[in-house]
Structure formats: C-alpha cells, structure tokens
C-alpha cells in the first residue's frame, strides 16, 4: 500500500507572465492590432485615408458611437444588454428639437424658448429616464434585460414619432432674438481645432474610466457581472448597481442624440435605428464578454474606432454599401471567434501547467518517504 505523505499544495505555479510570446501579446491586444491593420490597409489603398483632415473627420463620426459603446459597455459588464439606446438617441434629438423650435405650453398659452443648456440638460434627463425605466423593469419586476429594453426600444421610438408627429424638426440653429442660439456648437464647433463631439467623447471616456476603476460602483459592477450570487452575498447592492448602469447608458444615448441633432441642425424621429447593434459590436470587438464581468473602457473605445474606421474606409476606397454591411458582420463574428480561441488557449495553458505540477509532485513523492 502506498503511504505517501500528504502533499500540500507546494510552490505556487510559476507566474503566467514569464513566457508570453509575441503571438499571445498580439492576440491579447487584438482589437488594437485590428485597428492598426485597418489603418495600414486603407492608407495603402487610398492616399486620402491617412491625412489629418480625414482622421479628424472619421474620429468625429466615431465619437457618438464611442459614447454609446461606453454606456453599452457598463451594461454588458453587468451581465445585461441594452437594446433601447438607438431609440433613445432618436427621442433625445426630438426632445431637443421640440424645445429649440419653440415649446408650446398650451396651459399657459405661450411658447417657451429655453436656453440651449436647459435643452441639453432636459434631453440628457430624458435619456436617463428611459434608462431608469429599463433598470426598474429589470431589477424590480425581474424582466429579462433583453425583453425590457426591447420594450423600451419600441416605446421610446413611438414616443419620438408621437412628439414629432412623424416629421423632422429642421433649422435648430436658434434665433438670436429668442436667446437660444448655440446648439450647433455640439455638432459643428471646433474648440482648439478639434470638433466638440471628440471633446465630449474624451470627457465621457475619462469619467467612465474613473468610474469603473476607482469607485466602489466599479468594483461592484465587475463583481455583479462576474458572479451575481457571490456579489450579493458579499454585500454588493446588486439591484442598485444594475439600475445605475442602465441610467448611465440612457444618458450616453441622450448625449449621442444631441450630437447628431446638432450636427444636422435638425432632428428626425427615425434617427438612431440599429445604433444599439453598432454599440454592442464595438464592445464585443473590444474584448468584453457578453456573459458579463469582463470588458474595459479602452477596449470599447478601440472597438468603436475599428467599426467607424472600417465603415469610413470602405466608403473611401469605394466598396459598395451592400458589401460594407457584409464585411462589418464578418469582422464582428471574427472578433468573437478570436475571443473564444484566446479563452480556450488560456484554459488549456492553465491545465497544462497544473498537470505539470502534478507530475513533478508525483515524481518527487515516489522515491521513498520524505523527511
């Protein structure tokens, strides 16, 4: 009979970072690599691609998608999904449009022309309220996130159509006589030579990055998405964390709606259709896991850039819009395939390492009793 001494887990396995090849580093940073590859390919195909003007233009296009993606990131890290943001973009634009065109207050028999900062605040609040409704449905009424936000997708779009009666609000530049000018600054202003939309994107990125890395909310967010039951038992206010995530996502959507309305100086109720899918794609390309608990602001940003540069680059080199759609779809699926491959690689490596430790333990055990 073998009577080996109980082998206590001896030395810790050698740190995984010791032997990481270049290939694995590239796989790890694949979203960034993809972005570089895109830039190289398009700049080879078109001289116009890698010019400062074009880069700024493309980044401006990326901006609102990136803002949406960052809101979506929080939702996805929490383990949820937010399908309503595209509709919220439309609703927020329409709300801004109504107020800038003159808000008819029939009770007072007057028309109000609120200042632009009031308009911005109200539109963002509307986005936040849509998010709050999502959060309440999900956390208090146990509606699955997919269903709850699918519901608000329809309701918010319907609300935008009802408010505008289906028509577009044009000419939102305001009237100096009414003191409500300046709305177009959001979409067309260029402080320090950089479009306002890009500044807003940077601001949102900093705030959200600080939120997820430095605050208790960030800790709780990743714990909730990683294992909700464990988070709950660890005293994490899971319901409040989830609710806040949808509110933030709604506010991001409101901001995106404002930027678009300002850029076009008009608001259409159809704006923002399928934007939620672009945001989800960006988050996923950025390495977040749809099952929650994993994802970074940096990743979501890069993901948004990949999608934006891909779309604009394909236009620039003259690929038909039909093919653009196909290519976009392929890129998204490829991103997830790589993600899964990397996960498998990590697991296989961990198992191999552990098996190696076992064999070593066994080898040291068999030759006679230890001291």
């Amino acid at each position: 009979m073998a009577t080996a001494t109980t082998p206590r887990t001896t030395s810790a396995p050698a740190t995984t970072s010791t032997q990481r090849g270049v290939g694995e580093f590239l796989l790890d940073q694949r979203a960034f690599v993809a972005l570089i590859v895109l830039i190289i390919i398009f700049s080879l195909m078109s001289d116009a691609f890698l010019t400062p003007t074009n880069l700024v233009t493309m980044t401006k296009h990326v901006a609102y998608n990136a803002i949406l993606a960052m809101g979506m990131l929080l939702v996805i890290v929490s383990g949820g999904i937010d399908l309503s943001i595209g509709s919220t973009v439309g609703l927020s634009g329409i709300v801004a449009g109504v107020m800038l065109q003159g808000w008819e207050l029939s009770i007072f028999d007057t028309t109000a022309y609120p200042a632009v900062w009031v308009v911005v605040l109200v539109a963002l609040t509307v986005g936040g309220i849509v998010g709050l409704i999502n959060g309440v449905l999900i956390t208090r009424f146990n509606v699955a996130p997919f269903i709850a936000t699918l519901g608000t997708l329809y309701v918010a779009r319907g609300a935008a159509l009802l408010i505008s009666n289906g028509s577009t609000f044009p000419r939102l530049q305001g009237d100096p006589a009414l003191g409500n000018t300046g709305f177009s600054f959001l979409g067309t202003g260029r402080p320090l030579g950089v479009p306002t939309a890009i500044w807003i994107m940077i601001l949102f990125a900093i705030v959200i990055a600080v939120l997820v890395t430095r605050t208790p909310f960030g800790r709780w967010l990743y714990a909730t998405g990683g294992n909700e039951r464990a988070a709950q038992l660890g005293g994490v206010p899971v319901r409040s964390v989830k609710t806040r995530v949808y509110v933030i996502s709604g506010i991001c959507a409101g901001m995106a709606g404002l930027i678009i309305a300002s850029e076009l100086t008009s608001a259409a109720p159809q704006t923002g259709q399928t934007f939620e899918l672009n945001a989800i794609a960006a988050v996923v390309i950025g390495g977040a896991s749809l099952s929650g608990g994993r994802g970074t602001v940096k990743g979501a940003l890069i993901g948004a850039f990949v999608i934006g540069f891909l779309s604009d680059g394909l236009v620039l080199v003259g690929v038909s819009s039909f093919w653009q759609t196909v290519i976009k779809g392929l890129v998204i699926v490829l991103a997830v395939m790589l993600d899964q491959g990397q996960e498998r690689l990590k697991k296989a490596r961990a198992a191999a390492l552990a098996a190696q430790n076992v064999r070593r333990d066994l080898a040291t055990q068999t030759p006679g009793p230890s001291r």
Binding site: P216, G235, D361
Partner: protein, 518 residues
Amino acid sequence: MSAAPAVDTDVVMRATGITKVYGGTHALRGVDFDVRRGHVTALIGENGAGKSTLMKIFAGVETPTTGTIELDGQPVTFRSPTEAVDHGVAIIHQELNLCPNLSIADNIFIGRERKRGAFVDFSAQREAAASLLAHLEEPIDPTTLVGNLRLGQQQVVEIARALSEDTRVLIMDEPTSALSATEVRVLFRVIRELTARGVSIIYISHHLDECLEIADRAVILRDGNVVAEAPMSEVDLGWIVTQMVGREESALYAPMAHDPGKPLLEISDLIVADPDNPERLAVKSVSVTVHAGEVVGLYGLMGAGRTELLEAVAGRNPVHGGRVVLDGRDLTHASIPERIGAGLVLVPEDRQRDGLVPSLSVGRNMGLAAVRRFVSGAFVKRREERKAVDETSDQVRVKGSGQDAPIGSLSGGNQQKVVVGRALLTRPRVLVLDEPTRGIDVGAKADIFALMAAEARTGAGVLFATSEVSEVLHASDRIIVLARGQVAAEFDPRRTSREQLMAASDVSSAAPTSDEDD
C-alpha cells in the same frame, strides 16, 4: 502501487494512473483502482479527497487529464455519460440530476426514451417506471412531477433511473444522503440483488457504518491518492478513519475550550421556506444562540435545513417567521449590506456558485465585501485596500502568486481561504460558515479550523455547519443537531460520541412516517 499484476478475470473495470486537474487544482494524482465483478467496493475519503471526481471520470462526465481506463481488459475512453452507459457503466450522482419540471417516468427515461416508431411510448415508460418504483418500495404515481417530491423520494427516482439501465458497473455517489433508515434498508436489499446478478457496485458514502455493512472491499482515497485498500472483513471503523485523515485525527483541529461571553447572535423561532419548493418549509422554528468567543457547530444530514437556515441568517433567503438579533439589533429583515455592516457575514457552502467571481483577481475577490471600508469620498483608497488584502492573505495563509493572480490559478483550499478572508476583511462580530471544508485538502482544512478558533479567541462568535461528524465533534464548543428543519438535539462535544450524533441527526428512524409529508 499495483499489487500482483497478474491477469485477473475478476476485474471488470480497471483504472490506471488517473490524474485530473481543474484549473490549478489537482483533484486526482495518479489513482489505480479496480472494480471486481459482483462486489461492492466502498470508496472512502474525506470531502475533497477526489472520490466524486474519480467516479465522474468512470461515468464519462469528466475526462481524465492522464491515465487509462480498461473495461474487461479493453482500453476505453468515455467522451460522454451516454457512452459510459452504452458500455454498462451508470452513476447515481451525489447532486441530484433530475428535471423538477418533468414527471418521474420522464426523468427515469430521459435521454433514452422508449419509442414506438418515431414517438415516445409514454404508456410503456409509465408502466416500467411504476414497476421500478414498486421494486424500490416507493409506490408513487410515475406521472408525479419530480419537483413535488421530497428529497429522499427524488433520490429513489435517481436510483430507479440507474436500475432501468442495463448496468454492469453501478456507481452510487452518496446514495443515502437524503434517505430514511427504511429506505436505506430497501436500497441495501436492491444492492444485494444486483451483486448476486454479477453487477459491480462502487459505493461512496460518508456514513462509514453503511460502508462497513454493505461493502466487500474498502479503498481509501486521500488528497487525490489511493492510500490504502483492504477487504472490509479485515478492517474496522478506527482503521478507516485513520487512513482517511492520514494522521491522528485530533491533530487536525485547533484546541477549543473558550469561555463563552455574552450572547451575540440570537436566532429565535426562525421559519424559512425552501427556496426551490416554496410549499415546503426548510426550517421550522429553529432557535440558536451564539455567544461571544464561542464556536457553535451545526450538524445535520443533507436536507436537514442547515444551508437554508444559514442563508436566511445572512439575508439571502427571506424569513417567514422568527427573529435574527445581533447584539441587541434586530436584523431579521435587514439587507445583506446592512448585516455585513453590523458584523454578520456568511462564508457560503458552494464556493463556485456563491463565493468566487471567476473573472476577478485574487485580491478583488477577497476585497469584495469590504469595499465600503476603504471608501474616501467617491473613490476607493486602493493602496489601503491592497495593504489590508495582503495582511488578510497572510492571516488566512493563501498560497499563490499574489493578489493580482486570477482566482482560477489557486487550488480549491486556497480559493476557500480567499472566501474566508473576504469575510474576515469585513471585521465580523459573528462569522457564519456553511460547510467551510467542502472540497479542500487536509492541510487547508486544518488552517480553516485554526482560523475559526482564532476568531473566537478574539471575541467573535462563530457558527458553522457541517455534515462531517468528526469536524463538528472536534471544532466546536457546542453542537446543535438539525434534522428535518428542526433542532433535534444539543450536545457538548466533550461528552458526545459519533454514534450519539448520527442517531440524533437521523430523525427518520425514530419519527413516525406521518411527519414525512410536509
């Protein structure tokens, strides 16, 4: 390790050099194991010794990392449970693998439905299920939904499912954990009928007296190794326990004998519904008091209501009656964060499901419950948090590559220490632990008990639940036995025997059967 490698026609199934690795955990380290025709082999070992893992490999649920399995001398690889069943190897799982939304008959034939043409032959299935149940002396209507059965009856369904297959090797992993004494007798009768027909049984049970009674041979597993095997007729309980633990049993445990102070946690007349089956009460009016500086052990069989009680105390399950008071403060309906703030924290039973966040690092896992301690303004004071986590890691003796390592890189025992460390970081006044040694190695076990004793010495109260008699006897100052959701007895561990405890926990042998349907 293998003795006399002669060709042994008596061996139906043979495993050689089996290792199994989960993440960073070595569940099995080169196991050799023979199954003999028409014999009952008892596979004995503590929690985490690797019994269930080995059996899952036999049944095709898991594949071994290395090693081979032979069936009648032919090497086989089971890639799925279905393949194992096709080879005549079936398993009755420890965790019941039944679909509560389906009927008994549907559950018994799931995956290999009796068919007539392209359609399921429901009437044939019902008849076959009824006769199986009758044979097991459990005459329940086979159309009853499994979710409406009590745990013991569900286990009988699980047994019936294994019997319905044409089995040569039948693995029973804790088949009696929820059975009453009469049901165990029926099971033993069925086992003898099976072995007489040449079926080989691998029997796993915590109840060593059951193993002594039914098995022909004992194989002892410890920390993923086979450490001893012998014919059952040549061994006794003492030998088994010594082989299982691998050292003098008392060396595992820290010395107890604390001076209980004032009452800290007072649980009175607590009533909790079974979360999976709300019509049933899991805890029926239980009162327990934990004093400062005291370790209270809660002993009971599976289904006794231990977990439900502790989860209700920790705020996970709603309470339907009674009170939970911590040092004069009523926490009966407090939220979990409020309870943690007040100093009441639970180390959950199921580490993977309720304890760990797999996507987070070791440090983030450990700091999870104590984030509020390190908040200044809107931000987390990360340096202080790191320092506290490092200190607690040392205190609970986590062995690993630091707090930034992924939690999956730790062994089961070290993962458990992280979960215990998380609770300690909240500075608890009463530490509640549910099966704190489940699935961890002997060394980690000793560390956990030492931590519990140390907490009590600093004046905290400790309440822990276990299904291991030796643990509750050696690691508590006071023992409370739960059976069927009620306090069945209270013991002083210094004046109590294993037999007394087991008898008190097995309420079904004494209570009238009318008590069973609730």
